[in-house]
Symmetry: C2
Subunit: 344 residues, 2 copies
Amino acid sequence: MTDKPSSPARVSLEDVALRSGVSTATVSRVLNGSTTVRQSRREAVEKACEELGYVINRAARTLASRRSMTIGAVVPTLATETFSRPLATFQQKIHQSGYTLLLANSNFDPDTELKEVNKLVEYGIDALMLVGNSHHPRLWQRINQQALPCIQTFTVDRHYPSVGYDNEQAAGELAAHLLALGHKVFGVIVGTPPSNDRVSDRITGTRQALSAVGLTLDDANLFSRAFTMNDARQAMFQLLDGPNPPTAVICGNDLLAFGAMRAASERYLRIPNDISITGFNDYEYAEHLEHPLTTMRVELDKIGARAAEYLLAALNGEAIQRQTLLKPELIVRGSTGSAPRPSR
Amino acid sequence: MTDKPSSPARVSLEDVALRSGVSTATVSRVLNGSTTVRQSRREAVEKACEELGYVINRAARTLASRRSMTIGAVVPTLATETFSRPLATFQQKIHQSGYTLLLANSNFDPDTELKEVNKLVEYGIDALMLVGNSHHPRLWQRINQQALPCIQTFTVDRHYPSVGYDNEQAAGELAAHLLALGHKVFGVIVGTPPSNDRVSDRITGTRQALSAVGLTLDDANLFSRAFTMNDARQAMFQLLDGPNPPTAVICGNDLLAFGAMRAASERYLRIPNDISITGFNDYEYAEHLEHPLTTMRVELDKIGARAAEYLLAALNGEAIQRQTLLKPELIVRGSTGSAPRPSR
DNA sequence: GTGAAAGCGCTAACAA
DNA sequence: TTGTTAGCGCTTTCAC
């Protein structure tokens, strides 16, 4: 309809130069903290910036300098501590080195992940953080084409830089704990498609531990689309109503375990007398639940810190170890106990 | 040390033009979905893009078009559903209109908030979402200087666009519920400095409800720096050990209420017989806690949706209502009950 | 130390 | 329908 109410033409670097009586080159030098500018001029420039309310235009800077000073990260979701916590650390670390975080979600979908990475590349990110090692086939192609420093988190990968732990081994430890308690029938509730590398590794680890003692995991006892607490609760009901109700249920994270425990309680099952349930990650509330949760403690902050460390080193051309292996710790609490007598 | 291993000069729009035998203008038209390009040329351009692995340079586009197609948001933290949930909706909505979210955290600090907003402006955001209405004095100055469409969330504000609810009234309702149950001594555990507008409104609301019946809130019973579950737990211990132990404790959100309940249980207090505890927001797990939580349900998704709606309309120059008032709903569950007899 | 000037890769008149 | 061309606001040689 009408014209914008005289939006006062945005202040540019040239305006600052004019006002402070120096060249644009000198203003640029001051802005970038060059030490070769005479004190008096520096102050004049700073004064002019202040008076004019100057805000640098990063698009122009990025275009001219061919560095954006941003780092991209694509995580499945922020709706869980699993990713929000390491990301907070990551963000803080890169911030200290003057970088800004550009964040995107994949929703556990490789196609979406690829799209988001492409977008981040469009924005000119200088480096990239990913989760897991199972991506769209064209993802690494793009990253390599752009010669983009990149690290994968929550995984170990022989080919590409990574920081994480061995999901297979972690799952094995958890299964071993339950097997030692005499459990024979297992259930699994996880929150990502089995195509997901971390989850499939965990399932493999569980299966291996079982088969080592002559047991198997019934496919009917494997639920893999539970994201919320309530999803897990419903999955648990299905397990309990299924053909082969388990006495031990392994959940993908502590929130899912919380939901599973609720379902068990609603069915008047006693924890851990009638049923044992395990989580993963050791969220803050895990020890405070009605039935304190047996879980694997993962150093979430360290994942974020190490990822940042690696990328910053890579950006500076410093040599740094490409793979970092963390070791989760089994925390045994009240949600697991001896298998019930095979009464009925 | 050594040169970068021949990073293959980034493919530019000009490369695409050369390869497909058209001008850069035509390539740009194709990229921007102009309908005035002959089909054959369009296809040639698309083919060339594909073959060359072309990725647009958004810095250049932003500089030339003077629109970044990004929208900024500054929230206190992502570590709580309170902000991560509306943000997810917000993100989704603006995405549908072709905008990208640029996200920043303020950590509840106005200075940090101002810094982050400045940075977002540097990135050339086309619009901005904020939380609350108590900001650094220079914040609105900057926003207005840039003529930036902006909306405040979780608050109602007569002067600026906003979407939220009346914190004072919500707190009043909660207090009224507890007063009706006969409680006389109150405690408050919140997670933001009292300088915070939402929190101070809530405290005001609580105090008003109390004074209306001749009661007061003991300053010693007000804790305002509890962010994590454990913080709330410690705060609760202090309340219980303090000079004026409350029979009703009002918590800033459901997580804090969870922590407070734990502390009460650890002191062998029965909920709600010995002590009543309330939350805020009605997180998914609130009804599933050992003591199902009495809380205020807030339409978190709607906050994000409406914020997006407003900004998109503003960007299109459409007229749209500037203020939106939501109405939280009191959800009464098992964590609150009649005040204990004044026995001891 | 400082300035002049040539781009960075794209969009948007304007002309054809 | 398409091409030419002049910037967008900054950084960065290269002289001085």
